[in-house]
């Protein structure tokens, strides 16, 4: 199957390993992966900060860049949600190709839960808010993780509570954002897991930043990186 990836501006710039991992997983499962180089951003930051017009322009530019794509795969629940749920609001009448968050694509389109990954560590998973509530991905990420060879999945207390990133919320209300993140980290550490897995680079940047400041030995990783491991 031919698949186009939308790597997201954040992963593109700061977490290219997430993009590379996404390519690895998709190619391992026999997909022909394409990366349209004209891609930039989905417009979410602008929309959520109150700048709907530039956000609309970005959605239209996305539609143009990915026109005719059979399936667009995104390693981010919130960017997928932006395009799928809010795309028409900021860019009325725009014609978008089918856009899938990574776990949705693997399970719903490819029909795969065991992606052939091997990862020898204990992990806990934070279900990011937009994957959970905007997209309703449900237990898909857990099913993918449970099928990874060598991986031990530990249950995260208060899993469905927001990590506190929230885009520009992390800057405008930095203290509340950090307080939420610290509680998330405390819950993650209480599981004894070695890795905190998330499915959004933005939440990963926030939680990773908090873990780093604490000099914690626990790492934050993207779901795609776990699923790509073992090659």
């Amino acid at each position: 199957m031919k698949v186009s990836i939308f790597v997201t501006c954040l992963a593109d710039t700061l977490f290219p390993d997430v993009g590379r991992a996404t390519v690895t997983v998709l190619e391992r499962l026999g997909c022909e992966v394409d990366f349209p180089t004209a891609q930039t951003c989905c417009g979410q930051m602008h929309m959520n900060t109150g700048y709907a017009r530039p956000a609309g322009e970005m959605v239209r530019s996305f539609a143009e860049t990915f026109a005719g794509a059979e399936a667009v795969v995104v390693p981010s629940g919130s960017c997928t949600g932006m395009l799928r749920v809010y795309g028409q609001d900021v860019a009325p009448g725009v014609h978008l190709p089918p856009v899938y968050e990574l776990s949705e694509f693997l399970i719903d389109v490819l029909g795969v839960t065991d992606v052939g990954a091997k990862f020898d560590a204990s992990v806990t998973y934070h279900p990011t808010c937009h994957s959970l509530r905007l997209l309703g991905v449900g237990d898909r990420p857990y099913r993918l993780l449970e099928a990874v060879e060598g991986l031990e999945l530990k249950e995260l207390p208060e899993a469905e509570q927001c990590c506190g990133f929230g885009g520009t919320f992390a800057l405008k209300n930095a203290e509340v954002s950090s307080a939420m993140g610290e509680d998330k980290i405390d819950n993650a550490l209480s599981t004894g897991a070695e890795v905190l897995v998330v499915s959004d680079s933005s939440c990963m940047m926030h939680l990773g930043g908090l873990l780093g400041r604490r000099k914690s030995s626990v790492r934050s990783m993207h779901l795609a990186e776990i699923l790509a491991a073992g090659d």
């Binding site: 501006c9 992963a11 593109d12 710039t13 700061l14 977490f15 290219p16 993009g19 590379r20 394409d34 990366f35 349209p36 180089t37 004209a38 891609q39 930039t40 951003c41 417009g43 930051m45 602008h46 959520n48 900060t49 109150g50 700048y51 709907a52 530039p54 322009e57 970005m58 530019s61 808010c129 959970l132 509530r133 469905e160 509570q161 927001c162 506190g164 990133f165 929230g166 885009g167 520009t168 919320f169 992390a170 800057l171 405008k172 209300n173 930095a174 203290e175 509340v176 954002s177 950090s178 307080a179 939420m180 993140g181 610290e182 940047m205 990773g208 930043g209 908090l210 780093g212 400041r213």
Partner: protein, 491 residues
């Protein structure tokens, strides 16, 4: 408890007086350890209980859809339903008053009290009377308004303001409540017993004895209403303690202040709303006391009945295409209990009688965003969507917040003041408009990587990030560069 910690202590009033805007208020609230413990415990308890009772119903999602549809149908034709209510209530012996704003609602209330030469009134817990600042306005005129809801009594005796719709004293623990009763009850009525402990049973008994005198001595009662039925002119109050039943039946005169969005077209609409409200608010299948009354019944209950229909910004909200859905709100407080921001900062930080996620959208809808307090509220959210998921009338709070942020941006642009955010957003939009610009920016960032690794503190707005979080290491090679290097130009 570290008594050196600053606390948020808003003075009672329409908008809590002397309160800083959200971000600064949140800073103070976050430093109050006792507050955070009280809030964390209370919200988690209610949240878990709500989840259980909601989970019992197979048709919960259908009930939410039906409840939202009933409220939308009412709002779409509100003028007609209001006139129908007025006619039915008047025919049943009530006097209906119309109040365009808080001042008018207060003036009407004062006239009624003065006509009876009363000095005291008793109150059922009511958001509308708090919204217009009724108690404070009465106090200025020498009229004493006694709150009879247990938590409102705690708040009133403590010289405090409510921080939650349903549990107004959620920020207080039992020991604090015991102290307030001992210190304050005696000066306004029957004192608390000397040997009062912080057992809930003992605290409730002290309140009961204190309040019983008020119920028997006061001839005017004030209430709000959870619902007002247009077809019959009936008012409905749901409560848990029975104090409401006392206030609604014992006085000679009853005055009910009702927001115009409380209307329901028909009595049978209650069937849906009475299922969703108790479950969403107190996490009960059914609330202990439901009182319904229609005008005056000779020889039974108050013999003079007034209804004050309150607008106070509601028609402004009704005119807002996206925001209008906020008028579906039945004040259950489920959104407060599930909100991760509310849980950490409490209700006072929102600076309004309407706190939490619904307050964050309702205040700007009722007043606009020209005031700095109202303009800060749309940003008091990480847009996690937990509120929308819990809302029994399906108010899409995140979408309304996003729309209101756009209003704030517009308002700021019109004022012509330059600001760092709009500049940054413009630069970002320019960069994202063409992938070549983005790639150039990435290359530049990659070169700063080795230096950025040592940055612990950034200036300005970005300093909010580095105050508590490390920056991610900036990679030498972006994904774009990696793709070009390894795959070349495929298209």
């Amino acid at each position: 408890m570290a008594s050196t910690q600053p606390k948020l202590q808003p003075k009672p009033g329409v908008a809590f007086l002397g309160m800083p805007a959200f971000t600064e208020a949140a800073h103070i609230a976050l430093g109050d350890d006792q507050l955070r413990r009280n809030l964390g415990r209370a919200t988690h308890t209610i949240r878990d209980k709500r989840k259980r009772v909601v989970g019992e119903l197979d048709d919960w999602q259908d009930l939410r859809t039906a409840a939202a549809a009933i409220k939308d149908r009412t709002l779409a034709d509100l003028d007609r339903h209001l006139e129908q209510f007025e006619a039915a209530a008047t025919a049943a012996g009530a006097t209906v008053h119309w109040a365009a704003d808080a001042d008018e609602a207060v003036r009407i209330s004062l006239e009624i009290v003065r006509a009876h030469r009363a000095t005291d009134v008793i109150k059922v817990k009511s958001m509308a009377t708090q919204e217009v600042g009724l108690n404070e306005a009465f106090a200025e005129q020498g009229i004493r308004a006694w709150e009879t809801d247990l938590a409102e009594l705690i708040v009133q005796l403590g010289g405090d303001t409510p921080s939650h719709f349903l549990v107004p004293a959620i920020h207080r623990n039992r020991e604090e409540i015991r102290q307030i009763f001992i210190d304050e009850m005696g000066s306004v009525g029957r004192p608390a017993p000397d040997d009062l402990t912080d057992e809930p049973r003992r605290l409730a008994e002290a309140a009961r004895l204190h309040l019983r005198e008020k119920f028997l001595d006061t001839s005017i009662g004030f209430s709000g209403a959870n619902f007002a039925i247009a077809e019959t002119g009936t008012l409905v109050v749901l409560e848990s303690e029975g104090n409401g039943r006392m206030c609604l039946t014992l006085p000679d005169v009853l005055v009910s202040m009702v927001g115009i969005e409380k209307l329901l077209p028909t009595f049978s609409d209650l069937e849906v709303l009475m299922q969703v409200l108790p479950r969403s608010s107190t996490a009960e299948r059914m609330n202990p006391y439901t009182t319904m009354w229609t005008g005056v019944t000779e020889g039974d209950g108050p013999q003079e009945m007034h209804v004050i229909l309150l607008d106070n910004g509601r028609t402004r909200a009704l005119a807002d295409n996206t925001g209008r859905q906020a008028l579906r709100c039945i004040r259950c407080s489920a959104c407060l209990n599930v909100c991760p921001v509310y849980e950490r900062v409490g209700g006072h930080a929102y600076g309004s009688v309407y706190p939490g996620p619904i307050g964050a959208i309702l205040n700007p809808l009722l007043h606009g965003v020209s005031d700095e307090h109202d303009a800060a509220l749309p940003y008091a959210s990480s847009l996690c969507g937990a509120c929308f998921e819990a809302c029994p009338v399906k108010i899409d709070i995140p979408s309304v917040l996003i729309e209101q942020r756009a209003e704030v941006v517009e308002e700021r642009a019109e004022s012509g003041r330059p600001n760092a955010e709009s500049l940054a957003m413009r630069v970002a939009a320019w960069t994202f408009a063409d992938h070549r610009r983005l790639e150039r920016a990435q290359k530049l960032a990659g070169k700063t990587g080795p230096v950025a690794r040592h940055v612990r503190r950034l200036p300005g707005l970005l300093g909010g990030w580095t105050a508590s979080r490390d920056l991610p290491p900036i990679p030498q090679e972006s994904f774009h560069e990696w793709w070009r290097r390894t795959r070349g130009e495929q298209r």
